[in-house]
Symmetry: D2
């Protein structure tokens, strides 16, 4: 008898980077089985840049929290759960965690056709990268391989059924740069903030290769972070100080899964492209943003999106000032803008909007995925 994958998704508000009381309440109510947790995507309230310690604070809080459930040390939790913490809740964005569980059941559930596509999920890790590999082909190739492993883990055979690939990737701290310099290794950059951009860039091109959006032959060191004509429509990469290799989470759909969720994706062509998201809601989920506000509230789990300041310095033909602002980093501006646009469409501000969209969607735009509850009898 066939095993059926069941993915659960819980969006949980928090009062700070270490507040897991909402998660605790879900566990106590029996709605969330902690041992089934396979991934957490968090929005924490730091600056989302180099010295954002809220990501690490949240991650270590999760590790400590889950450690007794898994019967392992806090450090070992990170080997079992993909913790992706994205810093920065500028504007209306609300800090929260999206918790993914995965479990397996035998046979068909009554009332659900086996053929209906439902949310599935897979995970993979790359090896640890040397500082000089960050932002270069080594990172691209390792990520592409990890995407394929994660697809297999998810039970997705066709790349078209993948709707979002989240990658968490390392950055170059001052310490890492010094260690590399000591070995006379040549780095892609000596600026910590800039290294976040290179790492996201290489990771995203890796996703594009892994999903066959781009052939590996078109990618080489010189295009990473520069040739924005090359991009993935489904990659999302976040750089963080707390890890040394990439973690890859694939989200997609597969027939036969019993998850009470569906997922779809669109590409925002620029930071104010609400139309593409409205179109996605209408076409894939049958929801009109204006008329179906109540159904939206009931069904919407989360929107996963990437944001960036348009690198050509303009939006819809008019100059923006994000790239020249030395007080607020451009990624912060972009998250504030895109987060508010998406919230105005879906009526919810606890959204996963992550900054820095190099090779993630077209220049100045970015990929958007929407996870919706199905309207059947399943409960998460």
């Amino acid at each position: 008898m066939k095993r059926r994958q069941h993915v659960g998704v819980h969006r949980v508000a928090c009062r700070g980077p270490s507040d897991l009381s909402g998660v605790q309440a879900l566990i106590e109510s029996g709605k969330l089985l902690p041992r089934d947790i396979v991934a957490v995507m968090g929005k924490t309230e730091g600056n989302g840049c180099v010295n954002d310690h809220t990501r690490d604070f949240a991650s270590s809080s999760w590790c400590r929290f889950l450690s007794p459930y898994f019967g392992c040390s806090p450090d070992a939790v990170e080997q079992r759960v993909a913790l992706v913490m994205s810093g920065g809740t500028e504007g209306v964005l609300s800090p929260h965690f999206t918790v993914f569980t995965r479990s397996w059941t035998d046979g068909a559930s009554p009332g659900t056709g086996d053929a209906a596509p439902r949310l599935v999920l897979g995970i993979a890790h790359t090896r640890v990268f040397l500082p000089e590999e960050i932002g270069r082909m080594a990172q691209v190739e390792a990520t592409a391989a990890a995407v394929r492993v994660a697809m297999q883990d998810a039970g997705i055979a066709n790349g078209d059924d993948v709707h979002f690939v989240q990658v968490k990737c390392p950055l170059l701290t001052a310490a890492k740069m010094q260690s590399a310099v000591a070995r006379s290794a040549s780095l892609v950059t000596h600026d910590t903030y800039e290294s976040m951009s290179y790492s996201r860039a290489a990771s995203s091109l890796g996703v594009a290769v892994g999903l066959n959006e781009l052939p590996i032959g078109r990618i080489f060191d010189q295009v990473i972070g520069t040739d924005r004509a090359l991009y993935s429509a489904r990659a999302s990469a976040s750089a963080g100080i707390e890890l040394d290799g990439n973690v890859v989470i694939v989200l997609g759909e597969a027939a036969g899964a019993s998850s009470p969720y569906r997922i779809g994706h669109a590409v925002m062509r620029d930071a104010v492209d609400a139309a593409s998201v409205r179109h996605l809601l209408r076409e894939r989920f049958g929801l009109d943003a204006d008329a179906d506000a109540e159904a939206m509230r009931r069904r919407l789990v989360n929107v996963l999106a990437k944001a960036e300041a348009s690198p050509d310095g303009s939006v819809r033909g008019e100059r923006h000032t994000m790239l020249d602002d030395s007080d607020i980093n451009a990624t912060r501006h972009a998250r504030a803008a895109v987060g508010a646009v998406l919230a105005s469409v879906v009526g919810q501000t606890a959204l996963y909007v992550s900054g820095g969209a190099e090779h993630q969607g077209p220049a100045g735009g970015g990929p958007v995925a929407v996870i919706m509850r199905t309207e059947d009898r399943f409960e998460t």
Copy 2:
């Protein structure tokens, strides 16, 4: 024979706070008569807070620029033109100037019914305020009186025909506070940033009184800046370091004017309330935000809006982090959010979105006015 008011509006991009080359080009092309300029509302690219010198830089550039046309000293220009510079183009917002001209023609123009309501404008100044008057009843009362003078100047008899009242008001600098302390005068606050909020609050309540939205009897010192149930649906106040009294600009409609523009207003109930603006566009101007993008591009002059971080700490029931952010002031977050939402509705990023909406619309929301070209033969 009756004189007809003709208001012209030009939205002009700039490359920096002192760049008036676009204005110069309009003058040289004959489209803009500099001596007809009565008001300029600018968005400049500073932080919009206490030490934003881009507002002053823009204002003094305008004074110098217009001085030869008016045949007066640069300082005297500010007595003739209401210069309102609002700092802060966070997110997608694009720095620009909105230039209002006013002229008078004799009799009826052919092809336009005298009765059609068209854009009109009036201006008034209050006296200079003492530091201890800022944020208090003295400022409320002087502003209310100035609103009535400006309405008369605009030719508007009925307060319902006023759609936007822009006030520029002073703040308490360290220097002003010290001078007051030296006189043993008691100030509403000793924090410069907070004084901007108090000054906007008193000015906005003054507008509400001037437009008969609120009776003067309901306003006293203690409610200024605190009782957010009291508000104007059409007030917009910006505080700036460069002036010592209030300047009031009334925008509305009157039958008989020959201006090729109309104006309407709505109230956003929160920072992501795109629906109210979509409704305004549809009901007043017959434009569907999705379907009529091309007509919108052709007809839209500007959106004038106020933005603020919801003072109760949440948007649509979920926590925001704007008020607890010590790296980026809440007004900057709010402008980034509301600016992007409006741009996603109208498809244009050079919008007048100003921060700090105390008593300007409901708590966390704000007034929005839209100026549209009429689709008749008139040219601006």
Copy 3:
């Protein structure tokens, strides 16, 4: 036979808010007995303002770290160890922890006269404060009482022998303010950042009362945070989001203690008053800042200091811009300045310089305490 107090002090560098590897190494080497730890004063690398989560991150890391040594839960550690985390290492300041241990030995140690004054330490806690008590007399009085309890705990009879009193005090978060508003309680301020200032102000006046620097009769609600002629020369208060009552640590000297350290204090009259610190080093410790750099390096443990932007807007008669800066909070500027001045005197950048010196030293200045190793055979 008399019991002798022995206070140990370890200054330990860290690579981040949660990095306790240096502490671990000291424990493993036998130099630090974890069960003897009574207080930790940390400098963490956040913004030191409202949304600085590095303080909480460090505190919770310490709690988890010490929990197995104390055989209690992480939460219970905070009842046993006074954890004072001050955020903000602007300029040259280096993140670190100063760890205080206390133990008791019987009788006299050979070679040390019982009468020589040596470092002693005492601790006390106030009750939890209601939001409306913060920044008001209730906080002053509770703090004064706690100072006296801590002096007794330290074995100091005479207030003159107290050289530094560190208080950690709560602030008003948006959540606390809302809870108070819901009960119709009147708060001292509705601005989170400003509440930090009020809380430090009331706490510092409490220290002044506790040390008999000021009579309680001179303090009332209206002078808290405003009358800067009232101050303690030895108080240091830091506000943090992670606690609800005050923690008080008294540092001083007592004859008979066996600690191999001495402590002294001075008052900086403004942010650039290096002279007062040079004088303290020379007079109390016999060290010339220029000539004795090597001895300074060997003997200096730490400098504990408060910093603030001069509230009159000038330093040595010339305008400063710290109070009008809306991009960087004044406390951050002040820490950068005072930290660098102190580092230039003592040749060390891992210094405890904390921002916000309301009633802590004269306006624009602040108290400074120096802890030095004695040059005898004792090892810490």
Copy 4:
């Protein structure tokens, strides 16, 4: 008969970037002849980074102010006066202008030996640079040539008599970068903030070559901004958005000049190296920082210094956090630190401390020049 050079120096406080009332007062008192002004070095209160419009605001205010005195257009003033505006008055630093005049007298003045070395000054401009020349050898070579022209202009034959070379250099704005990309020109960087660093680096190496501190053969594109073993002990470079070529000001001493000032220089080895400045004051000017505070106040005109965050991530062996701070740029931290250290030595906060010291002094340190009044009968 020999012509004697007479350089005057006035340090003038300002209340904002455009406030020249202090300069006006000096002119009206007869102490300052506006037509003699040859250079102005200003500290303005912006962020000192890419979008600091206070520099441009100050420069254009000066141009307008001097235009009637010179009988030329405001734009033409910049060809006659070297306007160097350095943004950023972090910490205690006080905004001000240092105004240099130069005039010529015939023969010897009574009471002054012709042989006594006195302050002299010379100025030169490079050509306008293409975007792709910024940060590269073309900028190095043009700057070196300009230094030699400026020395000749100053009447200095021997490079050892040069004590400070101020260079103002351009940066890459988004607009310049786009124009270069459009021509397929390869830029040294695509990050505006980083371009400021490259431009200062190339300019400073140009000074080192011009003063024979380094042979041109040792400089090539790859070392610019990277090999910090190469540096000038007297170069100071500031990047600004308001110019397209370099302006070079040489300050030194020459026998025979009648200026009532002397100048000397030292090199700070790190940001807290007060000792080197104390040594300079003692050895060259006979002033003890502690004992001669009154004479210092009377004689000191200004200190001209460069500041930077140590690129190896530590000061005196302890980690600093300036380079990893994504909220405050490292240059701002460094100015706050070095400004306070210098103010604590000389007792004055209106100091010219400029950020970004690439190849200007050793890594993490920087050059410092001190201008002192001579104690003879001359009045400026």
